[in-house]
């Protein structure tokens, strides 16, 4: 194979047919996988945040007894602040540069670790719903007992065991689902980047 001859053809290959836009406004939004992935994570985090906002109305939707409402809102405010922190983080991640200006190895390393960290953050944001969900269910059960004129003393050991066992199973299932969801939609791309990086690191 004569690469010198090929290089001559390469150099002669003109680019006059390539049209460069006359304004940046004429460019469509990026379809680059990393940008798409960031955008999806940002929008999904907004949906999570919306879910947290809907939880604000729960004590009234479920007609909580007045004495339970402050307990609920103390927990809720904690989740609200933590969620705001996460959403802000995802917003920043979406607006961050993709580090393409450094050499390829550093560029891939930065992208890989940034994606990895944010995917883990994204998972933990999903896990954040678990304690909130358990508190809501717990308060809901307690509220039902109060309406019937009962208290937690009425719960038998068997009831407590069943509730604990059911909670562990449900938490396990939700964690598995979140992991599967994230790995399916985001993990594959990170694996591809890792594989390119591994190839580049081989001396």
């Amino acid at each position: 194979m004569n690469f010198d001859k090929l290089k001559d053809e390469w150099d002669k290959d003109d680019s006059n047919d390539l049209q460069i836009p006359i304004s940046i406004k004429n460019l469509k939004s990026s379809s680059h996988p990393i940008d798409k992935l960031k955008k999806n994570m940002k929008w999904e985090s907004y949906l999570h945040a919306l879910g947290i906002l809907i939880f604000a109305a729960y004590p009234y939707m479920l007609k909580f007894k007045p004495q339970l409402i402050p307990v609920y809102y103390i927990c809720y405010s904690m989740f609200f602040v933590i969620s705001a922190y996460y959403v802000y983080g995802f917003h920043k991640f979406y607006n961050s540069l993709n580090h393409y200006e450094t050499d390829t190895k550093n560029s891939l390393l930065k992208i890989y670790y940034e994606l990895q960290v944010n995917i883990e953050k994204y998972k933990s944001f999903g896990f954040l719903f678990l304690p909130l969900g358990l508190i809501i269910v717990g308060l809901h059960v307690y509220n039902k007992l109060l309406i019937k004129g009962k208290s937690l003393d009425f719960l038998t050991d068997k009831n407590i065991f069943t509730i604990t066992f059911a909670s562990v199973v449900i938490i396990g299932l939700i964690m598995f689902t979140i992991n599967a969801w994230v790995n399916f939609f985001y993990g594959r791309y990170v694996k591809q980047i890792k594989s390119i990086l591994d190839d580049l690191m081989q001396e």
């Binding site: 001859k5 390469w10 390539l18 200006e101 450094t102 791309y189 390119i196 001396e203």
Partner: protein
């Protein structure tokens, strides 16, 4: 950014659009993907434009951002699998070449699609006339590593071309 920045940026891109064209030909194998990739490289170049301080040549900076964008432009696997290891090498996949003269460069571009992302970058920089040292700086690996990989990639390309019934 100011309008002046945008104008100077677009002028730079216009002047160096050959780089853009050749990168996309290396990393995308149909017109639709090429247009998407061209568009994305320009978007990323514009987003990173504030990191170009004029200390290096615009073309050097453009190579970096362009190739790094292309390397990470990993589309859904089914599209690349559709291309790889086809028995009928070029004709069925590269419709845009059907009416063009089937020259060596076109065969080369087709064969390149069977290389991995890093091999494409190495052969691209070689075709652009970069030395081993310059390629090493762009990729962040050693000169020796570039030399070894380049030789291996050239051999691989030759085998791919031969496998599909061409020789030059």
């Amino acid at each position: 950014m100011q309008i002046n920045d945008e104008q100077s940026f677009l002028e730079y891109i216009e002047k160096h659009k050959g780089i853009l064209k050749r990168i996309t030909k290396m990393y995308a194998y149909n017109n639709e993907d090429r247009q998407d990739l061209q568009q994305d490289i320009i978007v990323q170049l514009w987003k990173s434009y504030n990191t170009f301080r004029g200390e290096s040549k615009f073309s050097t900076w453009m190579y970096r951002v362009g190739v790094n964008t292309a390397i990470t432009y990993l589309k859904k696997e089914k599209r690349s699998i559709q291309f790889q290891y086809k028995e009928n090498f070029p004709e069925l996949v590269f419709e845009e070449y059907k009416n063009e003269k089937d020259n060596q460069l076109q065969i080369f571009y087709r064969a390149v699609q069977e290389l991995n992302q890093i091999e494409k970058a190495i052969i691209f920089y070689f075709m652009e006339g970069m030395t081993h040292k310059e390629t090493a700086l762009q990729l962040g690996i050693s000169d020796i590593n570039v030399r070894v990989r380049l030789n291996r990639t050239k051999d691989k390309l030759q085998k791919i071309i031969k496998k599909h019934g061409y020789e030059f």
